[in-house]
Symmetry: C2
């Protein structure tokens, strides 16, 4: 039974509203760090409230994640839109990728949604519908201006983003900017032509990279 809508519209009591906010913030942080596998108990702990309180505001885990996801999509949609207002079409595309990736790379929860965790499956469709047109515009404009190779397509951009952000998620704890190095390489592959490579951010010490890979262990279960 859904407890939160006795009178659908009555505003929440002050403390309740305060807690709702704390929960949302905590959830954003916890899911970003741990992915959607994180427990609502943990979210509650970080928010400094009891689990009961979480369930009083959000009927179930999915709806909490949904709210969060909608916010994230809003943000990215805005990014794409405001990139479109920039004058230099190549810089606009690069800027969009950098900004979007910065968010995606530090948000494991977002990845989980995209990869198809059962939470918020249908919201993905809506998200794509909202973002696709802006990206298409960015791509085609950069092509008209002779920056971007002609054989790529709007749909390639999300795929490339996904590809890079996986890497980012994996290394986010110990080499949080490593993904930029590979974005540069990809961008050098997207440009129509070039006479020399763009400068790359330094490659981290090997132990950092491998440690990064193995610091993932959320669930060290069963295999002890």
């Amino acid at each position: 039974m859904n407890r939160q809508t006795q009178h659908p519209d009555r505003p929440l009591r002050a403390d309740a509203e305060r807690n709702r906010t704390k929960i949302l913030e905590a959830a954003a942080q916890v899911f970003a760090e741990q992915g959607l596998e994180a427990t609502l108990d943990e979210v509650a702990a970080v928010a400094g409230v009891g689990v009961g309180t979480v369930y009083r505001r959000f009927p179930d885990k999915e709806s909490l994640i949904g709210t969060l996801f909608d916010n994230a999509v809003d943000e990215i949609a805005n990014l794409a839109h405001s990139a479109a207002t920039r004058t230099n079409s190549w810089d606009a595309l690069v800027w969009f990728l950098e900004e979007a990736l910065q968010r995606q790379c530090s948000n494991r929860g977002l990845r989980d949604v995209v990869v198809g965790s059962p939470y918020a499956v249908d919201r993905m469709a809506e998200a794509k519908r909202r973002i696709t047109p802006s990206i298409k515009f960015l791509v085609e404009r950069a092509q008209r201006d002779g920056f971007l190779r002609d054989d790529v397509v709007g749909g390639d951009i999300p795929v490339l983003e996904m590809m890079i952000s996986f890497l980012g998620n994996l290394t986010s704890t110990s080499a949080p900017d490593l993904w930029r190095r590979y974005l540069t390489i990809v961008l050098d592959g997207l440009v129509v032509a070039r006479t020399e490579p763009s400068p790359l951010q330094a490659f981290p010490r090997h132990d950092v990279v491998s440690e990064a890979l193995h610091s993932v262990h959320r669930h060290v279960g069963r295999a002890t």
Copy 2:
């Protein structure tokens, strides 16, 4: 208790040996398709034997996965080694990436090990030790010959492979060759300079891509 080593060396009975092989083949297939989360019950079912039989040959899940992983590493090490014997240094590097990725992209289990599933953690170190030198050679030779940009490093190759193979894993069921498109772009980013883009494989219909993303659902649990 470990049941399989009564007399460490005695050869297995004919039927037992036959089953061991069936189990190994089934496990390779199942883990490649589903990742390491797959159940040994499922492996047994595919192999056409009972779970008990699986546990009689392999003391636990980890050791079965370990055996499989060692095989996969062998294969990739051989690839790297035999790439080194090729005369054209750029073609050698590209060939290695294509071959290695073809394997990694169709093997979700491999990804799980690399990403740090608790199975076979220490085997990773050994694997890296074996493969790293050959890759270093491939990279530096291609740089000396003026093909590969100078600012990349041996360690970049596994990272790029990882990045692309995530994508591959995600789309392996419905667009099994999609990763090649993005490998081409990355390679165009790795080359020292170029006057035009390399030809790209066609971009699939949009519905294929998104369906690909959402066909992943291994565990549709809890979120119904």
